[in-house]
């Protein structure tokens, strides 16, 4: 492989994952928490595809596509929750949404 080696890709993936985790921890708006979750999933995906290329094994890319499908499902359910929260006139703030009761 010309250009940077696998360890460079892994370092970038780790930074992306840490950035997403920081976003999940410091933000209170559930929409931005969901966007930060996307960042974390993308960091994991980058590591999977870097390993797939490293070992010349396509299973990592298949796993990456499955992660993409799971991310789409998670966004679907998460945004459904945001819409439901908004419709009940509750605040869009994960610190104040502390009750599971409907």
């Amino acid at each position: 492989m010309s250009g940077p080696g696998t360890n460079w890709y892994l370092a970038l993936a780790a930074f992306l994952f840490g950035l997403g985790a920081l976003g999940v921890l410091i933000r209170r708006n559930p929409l931005i928490v969901l966007l930060s979750l996307e960042l974390m999933l993308n960091g994991g995906n980058l590591a999977l595809i870097a390993f797939s290329r490293h070992f010349a094994n396509g299973a990592g890319q298949i796993f990456g596509l499955a992660v993409m499908a799971v991310a789409a499902s998670e966004v679907c359910v998460g945004l459904g929750l945001v819409v439901a929260i908004n419709r009940k006139k509750l605040p869009l703030d994960v610190d104040r949404l502390s009750e599971l009761r409907g």
């Binding site: 696998t6 994952f17 950035l19 920081l22 410091i26 298949i62 998670e74 945001v82």
Partner: protein, 189 residues
Amino acid sequence: MSSLVLATSAGNVVVWIVWVVAGFSCLASGVAVISFSNPFYSALALIGNLVSLAVMYLLLSAEFVAAAQVLVYAGAVVVMFLFVIAYVGPQREEAWSGGPSWRTFGAVLAAGALLTEIVVAISLAAEGSLGHDYTVDSAFGTPSYIGQLFLTDHLLAFEITSIVLLLAAVGGVILGAHSRRVDSARKET
């Protein structure tokens, strides 16, 4: 011979430049996603992140995954985010206002600890084995290659993925419709 070496190193330099630009824009747009106060701009910054990751996937000879990344994320997920952001209306929240300062400090500490843990775990597990990589032929990562893998070795994962997506769609509809039913029941009583 020397011209061949020169051409190889020139290609190497180009790949490095593309990698550095894509990696920088990836991290910069990631920082932008978590630091904009308006979620609309955060969702737009996520598009930049996804496109620069697609460039990374192209460098890793994963053409189909790069195309799927742009189509699925930038084409579907971010558009859904923008619809919902438009639906819930304008809202502002300063990035570093998440409660008292000790909580923000704790969050930064936890994220830093997680990052350190990942880096240490990877570098310990991969010690020595990341030095050389396997060569791949030009068919690696093309749609036909991925399709063949999906319909032979990973058929079960493929089918389960479709069920997961269907369940998520049904769940999203139920979550959206449930509160409306509760509201109308509340009005009747």
